[in-house]
Symmetry: C2
Subunit: 352 residues, 2 copies
Amino acid sequence: MENIVFTGKINEELQQMLREIVEDDIFILVDTETYRYCLPLLPCLASVEKSHIIVVGSGEHHKSLESASEIWSVLSVQLAKRNSVLLNLGGGMITDLGGFSASCFKRGMRYINIPTTLLAQVDASIGGKTGIDFNGLKNEIGTFSQPEKVIVDPVFLTTLPERQFLSGFAEMIKHALLSGLDSLEELLHTTPLELSGAMPLERIEKSVNVKYQIVKNDPYEKGERKALNFGHTAGHAYESLAFLRGEKLYHGEAVAQGILFELYLSVQKEGFDKTLFSRVCKYISEIYPPQMSEINHYELYRLMTHDKKNEREGVNFTLLKAPGKFITDCYCSEEELLVFLESFQHIVWTGE
Amino acid sequence: MENIVFTGKINEELQQMLREIVEDDIFILVDTETYRYCLPLLPCLASVEKSHIIVVGSGEHHKSLESASEIWSVLSVQLAKRNSVLLNLGGGMITDLGGFSASCFKRGMRYINIPTTLLAQVDASIGGKTGIDFNGLKNEIGTFSQPEKVIVDPVFLTTLPERQFLSGFAEMIKHALLSGLDSLEELLHTTPLELSGAMPLERIEKSVNVKYQIVKNDPYEKGERKALNFGHTAGHAYESLAFLRGEKLYHGEAVAQGILFELYLSVQKEGFDKTLFSRVCKYISEIYPPQMSEINHYELYRLMTHDKKNEREGVNFTLLKAPGKFITDCYCSEEELLVFLESFQHIVWTGE
């Protein structure tokens, strides 16, 4: 794949890459966590000036306009140029925030993503979507902008907390569902925590490849790319709801819940196989036990209407006829949705 | 030209265009001035909801992150979608700010520029550069993003104050210099204030065409587009200096001064004809008498190094060998520049 490097030797890779760049022109974006746990794994960056290391707070609430503004201030004061390079070292929060900031600084400076979480490695850092949260909404402000390179090394996953690992695994579930029955069966026979700490590079590469192929055909999300939204229309609404309530729900946990609901919609509206749905439902429910307190369906619906891909009242989903057979722009009216949310909750709670 | 419409009947043009858009999805960005003087000239927009009219303060200091944030708030709260349309009705401040805001809202919503000043009509609203000022620097944050359409109608120029008209005229001077000797001679025989209030549409179209041809070949400013930077490396520095001092200097006034200095550099370094320089110098000096209080050359130099097109110490300029014969990336060291700034000031003040 073009600009994605899968490697077990990131220091060699980076050293090679940075050889042509004046040290003065390298900037590193980290959060407090990756500053502590990931930056020390990259001794090849030891010579970068301290004033060029930009540390923001960790956690989704720092994926904000305030953080972008802080980054722009450092870049501007330190005289970063268009062909200076910003290295985004972190999870999806950092690659989204850093990518957005870089894409707008002087109308676009160079940047390289070094994703350090499973979520960022298989999803967030790939595909050229950048963004910050705004008005309580995920990625409300952002750009389409391709990093010059993405370097994926599983070394960072070894220190990743279990819950964060599972959050990333949700996107691998999505990719398996979008890929086809073989991938799905392989997935359903995988116990994710057995991979934690020793994720095979090929497994990541295979998952990324599902996304990469789709994005290549439709970088600006005019059509096919909406497939990747599977699980995310509902997922983002769950996530926003948790955010507004101050409850801690990881992106992948929200997406896992979103996948379940949208797969349920797929059964109801597109004839997705019921038995297969039950197996996936059981698999996901065991990995991701329900986290959120009681959910108001109308509130959830309102949050879904904020989704960027919507073009009229009601909500458009990507649904599946079968594993690997997706249909974008499946329209659900408000009435329909409220009924499905009700019956879905019943199924999830009772297993029937 | 593709997406630029030159018309004397903007209401008909707009009505046609807006026919396919749901009224709910139209947003209008104005400043306090264009709200008062320009919006009433567009009765075809009378049915747009009041809550969808976004008014920001007028003046360059409102081309800020705070204004962008205000615009995003309205768009978000009013549930604007990706295929909603933002109409930017105003001068370069509004088309830059509105273009930037639109290009980042949900990673890019549709927008149309309706430039209402001469400056915006011949320059700012064309070519897909958007931006806001940041850290005291012009367009430090921005994107490359093409408006869906630009509609140019001289009707708005009839109420334009003289000083603003002349500010726009500076870009027409630049275009004439970049175009060739014929255009330059035509210009030198033009008394701008005679055109004020009755600017012929063909004259605007001809000037825009110079920019359009260059941008078409190099939209992301990798090479040829830097030609359009002629007069602007120094011009932006003059403008930033005035801004930092709280002195009122219009963009075009700063650019006129920048053109003079860079034409002087062209004489010194690239053999631009001295006699022609003297004629242009006399022409420009009569239209734009010096506005700024005493200038510290080192301060000016520092501001030039902030220019986005620079890639090493010293400053790169676009210079002219002759009218129409531009050379990009002409390097001037700090020492050289400080000497030229000194001798240039002497010439401008003494006319020798």
